[in-house]
């Protein structure tokens, strides 16, 4: 069983712990300027929204060339062919989804796409 990413988890914890501990252990250290405090508060939503947007709208082909799609993929590593989600109209059931191993086969702009998210 792979443990390759365990050191990464430790490194991630090492950069997280000071944020959690410094104000508790060193009183007065938390007095950042209000602008810095607000910036810190806004970083979380911005990064998470960026991840969601890039994950659903940008697809890499085998040569890592990005293209714009409405897609969702989490089951394959970068560099390999990624599956893309595209909505198709099923006359009996309305919108449904299909998977394609060729991201470029489904140009996003060719038909209107609802959000693939629940």
């Amino acid at each position: 069983m792979s443990t390759v990413l365990v050191p990464l988890a430790i490194l991630m914890a090492l950069v997280t712990y000071p944020w959690r501990a410094v104000p508790l252990l060193a009183p007065g250290m938390h007095r950042l300027p209000p602008t810095a405090q607000t910036y810190i508060r806004l970083v979380g939503p911005a990064i998470l929204a960026s991840l969601a947007a890039v994950n659903t709208m940008v697809v890499l082909d085998a040569a890592r060339h990005p293209s714009f799609h409405i897609s969702a993929s989490s089951g394959s590593r970068s560099g390999s062919a990624r599956r893309s989600w595209s909505p198709v109209v099923d006359s009996s059931r309305g919108w449904s989804s299909r998977h394609s191993s060729s991201p470029s086969s489904v140009p996003w702009a060719s038909r209107p796409c609802p959000s693939p998210l629940p």
């Binding site: 490194l11 607000t38 979380g44 990064i47 960026s50 989490s74 629940p118």
Partner: protein, 235 residues
């Protein structure tokens, strides 16, 4: 107690989704559980799954993790006045379990009773958050491992859906909405023009600047002062 039950359900649900996402991204059960035990930061763990999928270097992942988790500084600062007279070693241990949920439960409890309540903090941080999150992670990663083709069941949309869910959970006003939308637009644009890794970095760092330029409404300013910055210290 009702708040606790809601957070148990939320931590359990997101923990399960994290386990499924991590498994789908190729994490082993040990790696996924190590993240939940050692990092114990849901948003950064989900982000790490995306970064690993995106082919980020470890240095890039660690750098962005520091940014994603920087908000814990504010939570810790909010609880610091209540815990100032507690032993240093105890505060050092408490710090590891500081999460959005633990802060939300603890600060409202401390304010209600007008003093620190260390057992109450442990209940919020470990009983309500840490244990459900880790148990659900293990369940998710084991369940994910038993599904041969996650995409067939639509499980490949879990990751972006979870990202959106977490982002919405962090949104408390107009500046957050603007930061999220502008960050997403910048991320996609830079990803298409250059590289997804650079796009994520640009969106995460530049989006908040747009949020800073947005004026919060009066109610949001009051909420900000009360919840984030102004935990009332004990009398």
């Amino acid at each position: 107690m009702v708040d606790s039950l809601g957070i148990v359900a939320s931590a359990g649900g997101f923990g399960l989704v994290y386990g499924l996402s991590a498994r789908a991204a190729g994490f082993s059960p040990v790696e996924a559980s190590a993240m939940s035990l050692i990092v114990f930061g849901g948003a950064s763990q989900f982000a790490a799954v995306g970064y690993v999928l995106g082919g980020f270097s470890w240095a890039g992942i660690v750098f962005l993790t520091a940014f994603v988790n920087a908000r814990h500084f504010l939570y810790s600062a909010g609880l610091a006045p209540y815990l100032a007279d507690r032993p240093r070693w105890l505060r050092a241990v408490m710090a590891h379990f500081m999460t959005d949920e633990a802060f939300a439960l603890a600060v409202s409890h401390f304010r209600r009773i007008g003093r620190a309540d260390v057992p109450g903090y442990w209940w919020a941080a470990i009983g309500v958050t840490f244990i459900p999150w880790n148990v659900a992670t293990i369940a998710g990663v084991l369940l994910g491992g038993s599904i041969p083709e996650p995409a067939r069941f639509g499980l490949d949309v879990i990751f972006p859906a979870a990202m959106i869910g977490l982002a919405v959970g962090l949104i408390t006003g107009r500046p957050e909405v603007v930061a999220a939308i502008v960050g997403a637009v910048i991320a996609v644009a830079v990803s298409l023009a250059w590289d997804p890794a650079a796009g994520l970095l640009a969106g995460g760092l530049l989006g908040p600047l747009a949020g800073l330029a947005t004026r919060p409404g009066p109610r949001e300013r009051r909420h900000e002062a009360e919840v984030i910055l102004g935990a009332r210290p004990p009398e």
